[in-house]
């Protein structure tokens, strides 16, 4: 009798464990993919939400310019200085320019832009939609016959996809400008050699690769943060949790996606 109840309790423990640890995440992933599919389809659905898209482009893009200029400039300065210290020891300080340019355009620019914008704009998206959810504003939209995903999510996701690469281009430009200023005007590298080596080593396709990556980061954090906000529940605490999860997962996924997308692009170049 005692052994039967022990087996039953072990059985219920395992079924609860499997439900929580295995079925729960699969269910959540399934819900996210259904949401993502609806959100992407809503971008192309009528009516066209021109004014909302512009409004969100202004928020994700224009309002992020300051933070991108600041992070870009200091990243360019710090990277150039560190590389110059190392390369000077080997007598290869002429390679500071191309090394910085390669690092910035292919990895650091896209990843840092993705991280900064996911934290700033993604967090705001999750918080805004979460607040709208718990204060019944999304229900109100639905009751008024307005498709909430099409009205609220589509324009935000599209704005993230379009604005993030533009901000990455700005990051690349300002980081290289800061690197040039430091390397040529303060560290005494030759200006001609600096630019000539960059031209020799850096292909424009590297810049495009970075821009493609940031568009994918924008798509992911746009979808994930709006998903977290859209499905928030439980008042202010629920909104806080949705924002926190949205930002943390988006930032981690920027780094994870960076690795896979880089490899995918390299594979694409290999087969074409």
């Amino acid at each position: 009798m005692a052994s039967t109840s022990a087996i039953e309790s072990i059985d219920s423990f395992f079924s609860a464990f499997i439900k929580k640890k295995l079925i729960g995440p699969i269910e959540a992933a399934g819900k996210f993919f259904i949401f993502a599919q609806k959100a992407i389809a809503s971008i192309f659905a009528k009516p066209f939400r021109g004014s909302e898209i512009i409004q969100h482009l202004e928020f994700v893009g224009n309002q992020s310019i300051g933070i991108i200029l600041l992070t870009g400039a200091f990243t360019g300065l710090a990277l150039s200085f560190q590389i110059w210290i190392g390369f000077s020891l080997l007598g290869a300080s002429d390679l500071v320019g191309p090394t910085v340019a390669l690092a910035i355009t292919r990895e650091i620019g896209p990843v840092l832009t993705g991280l900064v914008i996911a934290a700033r704009a993604g967090g705001a998206m999750a918080a805004q939609l979460g607040t709208m959810r718990v204060s019944e504003q999304i229900d109100a939209l639905e009751v008024m016959g307005v498709e909430p995903i099409q009205y609220l999510v589509g324009p935000r996701v599209l704005a993230a996809v379009l604005a993030t690469p533009l901000l990455c281009a700005l990051f690349d430009f300002i980081a290289m400008a800061a690197s040039y200023m430091l390397s040529v005007h303060f560290l005494g590298l030759d200006e001609g050699v600096y630019w000539e080596r960059i031209q020799l080593w850096v292909d424009p396709s590297y810049v495009y690769e970075g821009l493609i990556k940031t568009a994918i980061f924008g798509l992911f954090f746009g979808l994930f943060c709006t998903f977290r906000g859209f499905t928030a529940s439980g008042g202010a605490r629920g909104v806080g949790e949705a924002t926190n999860r949205g930002v943390v997962v988006s930032m981690v996924m920027v780094i994870v996606l960076d690795y896979f997308v880089s490899n995918f692009i390299r594979f694409y170049y290999l087969i074409t």
Binding site: P47, T131, M132, S135, E136, Q137, D139, A140, E142, V143, M144, G145, V146, E147
Partner: protein, 266 residues
């Protein structure tokens, strides 16, 4: 014979705004039911008050009437049409027949009073210019009792009563056939409560043929403005009828609810 059936159909169409048959709702796969088989008919042109203690399923019932929730079992027909048989896009189009005033108004934070009230017009009558939509929205706001000097205020700059008025104007914008009020007086002081009750009554009587459904636990309002009262208890309809039927009821639960409500009002 066909003619007779058509006549019967027409009577059916015109008699009830909302018909609910054996509605059941469970959130945990059928273990526990919030609504346990509701049968309800809400007459057209009336003010129907849905009352009951907290947690009896009033708001869940309203979400089914709005098509925001799907029944676990049973059927909800609004203006003769079964909501569960509609596709999502059909449901979206159908909802222009319904106006809702939410418990906490649910106004859009970034829009002014005028922006909130004109939003449904701009969404559903896309041929309408902004000026035309704002003109109509302004009329609805005035009809709801909001002074024009408050038209350009954001919800964060408005009082509770002003927000309720804007919420009502937004619900009225498309001249819906059915107006639903979700706990419209919850958390308001007695003066504002009376103001909102009067607003519901005046709005209903200024729109001929419209149907109003008020979800509330305010018994005083049920007796004062309701033509038809439905009391829910533990996910079922305990009683429905005229307000005076509740005063003369022998049911101990109804008596408890009535006596508590009356004591509170005294």
């Amino acid at each position: 014979m066909d003619q007779q059936q058509d006549v019967i159909k027409d009577i059916k169409k015109t008699e009830y705004a909302i018909e609910i048959d054996h509605l059941k709702k469970s959130f945990d796969g059928g273990k526990d039911f919030v609504l346990k088989g509701i049968d309800l008919k809400i007459p057209k042109g009336s003010i129907t008050m849905v009352i009951g203690f907290s947690g009896t399923g009033k708001s869940v019932l309203m979400k089914h009437i709005l098509g925001l929730m799907k029944p676990t079992a049973g059927e909800v027909r609004v203006l003769g049409k079964s909501l569960s048989k509609m596709t999502k896009s059909e449901l979206h189009k159908f909802r222009i027949n319904l106006g809702v005033m939410f418990q906490y108004s649910a106004l859009f934070d970034s829009f002014t009073a005028l922006g909130n009230a004109s939003f449904p017009l701009l969404e559903h009558r896309r041929e309408m210019s902004l000026e035309e939509a704002e003109k109509i929205a302004g009329e609805k706001l005035i009809q709801s009792g909001l002074d024009s000097k408050h038209f350009h205020k954001l919800p964060s700059e408005m009082s509770g009563g002003m927000r309720k008025r804007v919420g009502l104007a937004r619900a009225l914008a498309l001249d819906p056939q059915i107006l639903l009020y979700d706990e419209p007086t919850t958390g308001l002081d007695p003066i504002l409560t009376e103001m909102v009750d009067n607003l519901i009554y005046d709005t209903h009587h200024s729109r001929k043929g419209s149907t109003s459904v008020v979800i509330s636990h305010d018994l005083h309002a049920a007796f004062r403005i309701g033509d038809h009262v439905v009391m829910l208890h533990e996910g079922k309809v305990l009683k429905q009828g005229k307000p005076e039927d509740f005063l003369n009821s022998d049911d101990p639960l109804i008596n408890k609810f009535v006596s508590t409500g009356v004591r509170r009002e005294e």
